[in-house]
């Protein structure tokens, strides 16, 4: 049987950012790309989002930092990173050599820090966009996370947009009552796209030692366990904003990726799956091409948001 569509068009746009295909890797789960070069053809995936970068280097949290949970894991890395200066000197040169797009995930304690990061990171060949991690506490506002206040999220988005010409994606935290309000706030703030979800806040206890299993007590839950929550939020957000949405959360197979695309995501990020299946991003990229070659759609764009909802029920 002939394929309906032998050379499917996998390109997608996130605002001005054009990706060869919708498969990205999630911040903090793919290092700076190089770590996976034995397993993934870095020239062929859609984009890499590098580990969150702050103005100054951060040492991160005391160990243990990771613990497995049912179909998931908790991490309390504590945003360990080399800082923006070292990133540009030590990590960017490798990233400039690969063909896929590179987004830098940024994090700060105040709006000013985000702005300074955006300035630092603009105008470098090899950096194609910024992803703002707003799950961080705003030290000036009593430590409330940017990602739980629509006003603060909109403010940091607008400030970063004003400071850079790069496309700006805002990454939402799922630990909120109303994800759609958050999404609309960052859309109004001028975001070029929205990525979601970051990790759910969780905890694990060792019944034998009677102690928390993480040095930081609480951590971020990721992996297949959270996929249903992520898919719901992506669907809700994509149905209510006009800017592109990037789906994240438990994506490990081609089928997972298709589900997020159907729900309205224009692209997906592979996170925890990189750990247990280091070639997952490559496999999913190829899987999407194979899938689409058997479908009536000629381009992947037509798949986005094409979930069929029976009415009347």
């Amino acid at each position: 049987m002939d394929n309906l569509n032998p050379s499917p068009d996998l390109r997608v746009n996130i605002g001005r950012l054009e990706l060869a295909n919708p498969v990205m890797t999630a911040s903090g789960t793919f290092g700076y790309g190089r770590e996976f070069s034995s397993f993934v053809d870095l020239d062929r995936i859609g984009a890499i989002v590098v580990k969150g970068i702050s103005l100054e280097p951060r040492a991160g949290n005391p160990p243990p930092r990771v613990v497995e949970t049912p179909c998931g894991m908790l991490n309390a890395i504590g945003l360990e990173n080399v800082g923006v200066e070292q990133f540009l000197v030590r990590k960017l040169p490798f990233l400039q050599q690969i063909k896929c797009k590179v987004l830098v995930n940024i994090l700060g304690d105040s709006v000013e820090e985000y702005v300074a990061l955006a300035r630092h990171l603009s105008g470098h060949q090899g950096i194609d966009g910024l992803e703002i991690n707003i799950s961080c506490p705003n030290v000036k506002k009593g430590g409330v996370a940017f990602g739980t206040s629509p006003e603060m999220a909109a403010a940091v988005t607008a400030a970063v947009k004003a400071a850079t010409d790069l496309p700006v994606i805002v990454k939402l935290s799922p630990n909120v009552t109303d994800i759609v309000t958050m999404a609309k706030a960052v859309e109004d703030g001028g975001a070029d796209g929205i990525s979601l979800i970051n990790t759910l806040i969780g905890m694990a206890i060792d019944a034998t030692t009677r102690r928390p299993r993480l040095g930081n007590i609480i951590g971020g839950l990721s992996g297949p366990a959270i996929k249903p929550v992520a898919l719901r939020m992506v669907w809700q957000v994509a149905s209510n904003v006009r800017i592109p949405v990037i789906g994240i959360g438990g994506i490990g197979t081609t089928e997972d990726a298709i589900e997020f695309l159907l729900a309205g995501a224009s692209a997906v990020q592979v996170g925890t799956a990189n750990f247990y299946a280091p070639s997952a991003a490559d496999t999913i990229r190829q899987g999407l091409a194979d899938y689409l070659s058997d479908q009536p759609e000629e381009s992947l764009g037509e798949l986005i948001g094409s979930l069929i909802i029976e009415d009347g029920s």
Partner: protein, 260 residues
């Protein structure tokens, strides 16, 4: 620095005690690239529970492309692994991490406790070709004879004299391997230790005092084994953290802040 992901058929498999298992896996690319002290990340089944791979030291490699692991059943992942039979496959990623580094003409003292003995066999094999193999000391400890005797045999087969200690005195010296170390190590020895943290900390301290160079192979929880998740931290001497999967698992004992 090549790393591979290989679906590796089980070639052979033996149960040394009810909960210690040795398994040989056909993985030629990994076997060829592996250096003593490196490890592999092993997928325990195809289900997503357990989700993460498990790290195991490379216990040995064979000329015909087998990677040998020695492991103890301690939880869900190792229980699942132990159910697999010859002919079934295990998915491996490796070789990973930084192994032992020894200058070929310095005598070495290998100190292993419990499952920490696993990587030392591969190391001992590599040392066979050193100029004066008989100058190396091999000190191995475990809880009981059952757990220790079969492993000691492997080292003896390589031609080494082995000093053994068991907690219950059922085999070799009655006591800890640290006591063997006091007796059998010399100031000339480069020391390589792998085992429970208290053992490694004690050996590291004795080496510091005696002026021996000491390398220790550390364990932490790992999510990726590839240097990407930053989960596998240990506290470094002089502040800050190191990552076991990337800067280790074998560290110079001076790099590590021994807190026990």
């Amino acid at each position: 620095m090549s790393k591979f992901q290989v679906t590796s058929p089980i070639r052979s498999c033996s149960q040394l005690t009810p909960d210690i298992i040795r398994v040989s896996l056909l993985a030629p690319t990994i076997a060829r690239a592996a250096r003593p002290g490196q490890f592999v990340m092993v997928a325990a089944g195809s289900s997503r529970d357990p989700l993460l791979r498990r790290p195991f030291s490379i216990h040995n490699v064979t000329a015909d492309g087998e990677v040998v692991l020695l492991y103890k059943i301690v939880g869900q992942g190792t229980r699942l692994l132990a159910q697999l039979r010859v002919g079934q496959s295990i998915d491996l990623v490796g070789p990973l991490g930084k192994g032992f580094s020894l200058s070929p003409d310095t005598p070495a003292c290998l100190v292993g406790g419990g499952m920490g003995i696993a990587p030392l066999l591969f190391l001992a094999k590599a040392l066979c070709s050193s100029p004066r193999p008989q100058e190396h000391a091999i000190l191995l400890g475990a809880r009981t004879r059952d757990e220790l005797a079969p492993l000691v045999e492997d080292f003896r087969e390589l031609g080494y004299p082995v000093h053994a200690a068991t907690d219950d005195g059922s085999y070799g010296h009655h006591g800890f391997v640290t006591e063997l170390f006091q007796e059998h190590s010399t100031p000339a020895h480069e020391v390589c230790v792998c085992g429970p943290t208290p053992l490694m900390a004690a050996i590291a301290r004795q080496c510091l005092q005696a002026g021996n160079r000491c390398q220790a192979s550390l364990e932490t929880h790992m999510a990726c084994g590839l240097g990407a998740c930053l989960g596998c931290t240990i506290q470094a001497q002089g502040g800050g953290y190191k990552h076991v999967c990337k800067h280790g698992p074998v560290f110079d004992a001076n790099e590590v802040l021994w807190t026990i």
